[in-house]
């Protein structure tokens, strides 16, 4: 593995400590992790409820869906599911992008694009839920 044409040499004089000093801690580091856990705990019952509900709507017409969604409890659960899902999704995709995209610029652009897309999809889902639930 030794490369004779390019022997090991030092091209940075700052120590790792000197580099980190003054930058401060990120402080927000645990927030991402915690939010990911909270949404995942919330999604366990919400997902089971959603699967159960969808199984009862396999042959549903549009009117059946409107009828089903007109219950305030179902609407609330649906909105909670939408919020938790897309929050969990954008946090998860952010980690995946940060792990596999080394170029800073592309990384930042990809993370922002994913977040924007998740927010938009969540809003579309939430508005549709409200339209369905309030239309009857």
């Amino acid at each position: 593995m030794s490369d004779l044409s390019n022997p090991p040499h030092i091209d940075m004089l700052r120590s790792p400590l000197g580099r980190a000093r003054g930058l401060g801690s990120a402080r927000a580091g645990s927030k991402h992790w915690w939010s990911q856990r909270l949404t995942s705990i919330a999604l366990v019952p919400l997902t089971l409820w959603f699967i159960w509900s969808i199984l009862r709507l396999t042959n549903a017409s549009q009117a059946d869906v409107v009828d089903w969604m007109s219950s305030p409890v179902r609407m609330a659960l649906m909105l909670a599911l939408i919020f938790a899902t897309f929050q969990h999704l954008q946090l998860g995709l952010q980690v995946v992008i940060e792990d596999y995209v080394p170029q800073e610029g592309i990384k930042l652009a990809a993370v922002l694009a994913v977040k924007a897309l998740c927010i938009l999809l969540a809003l579309i889902c939430a508005i549709c839920t409200l339209i369905l639930g309030l239309s009857s």
Partner: protein
Amino acid sequence: MKDVRDAQMVARNSDGKLVRRPLSPHVQVYRWPLSMALSITHRVTGVGLGIGTLLLTLWLLTAATSEGGFERFQYFLGSAVGLFLLFCWTLALVFHLLTGIRHLWMDTGNGFEAKQYQNSAVAVLVGTAALTVLIWVIGLINWYW
């Protein structure tokens, strides 16, 4: 300027000679224990489910905007391609849910004994197969009746 991570790959050994630090081996040199495969699949299914949210969005969107659109979307979901997508989606969702519960349990500091680690991994696989089959049996019965 050189990337700091590259710059720090050079250090002195105990003789004071400059050497390149050894790199730790990566995935390609490891055996693939079950837990590692599950962890990677957890991530892959997570990304897959992210794409799958488009299915949920389209379902809600067509239901909220047009009766004809909803009928067409329901018809698509009942086609071979639709059923295949729904099956993959169910499988990924159940798998991600169960490995997620396993990860939450490990977040509390439990389940790291070699035996528990292995058994919980097997339990996740068995549970995924059983739950997916159960969901589809109920779903198909509801669909035909």
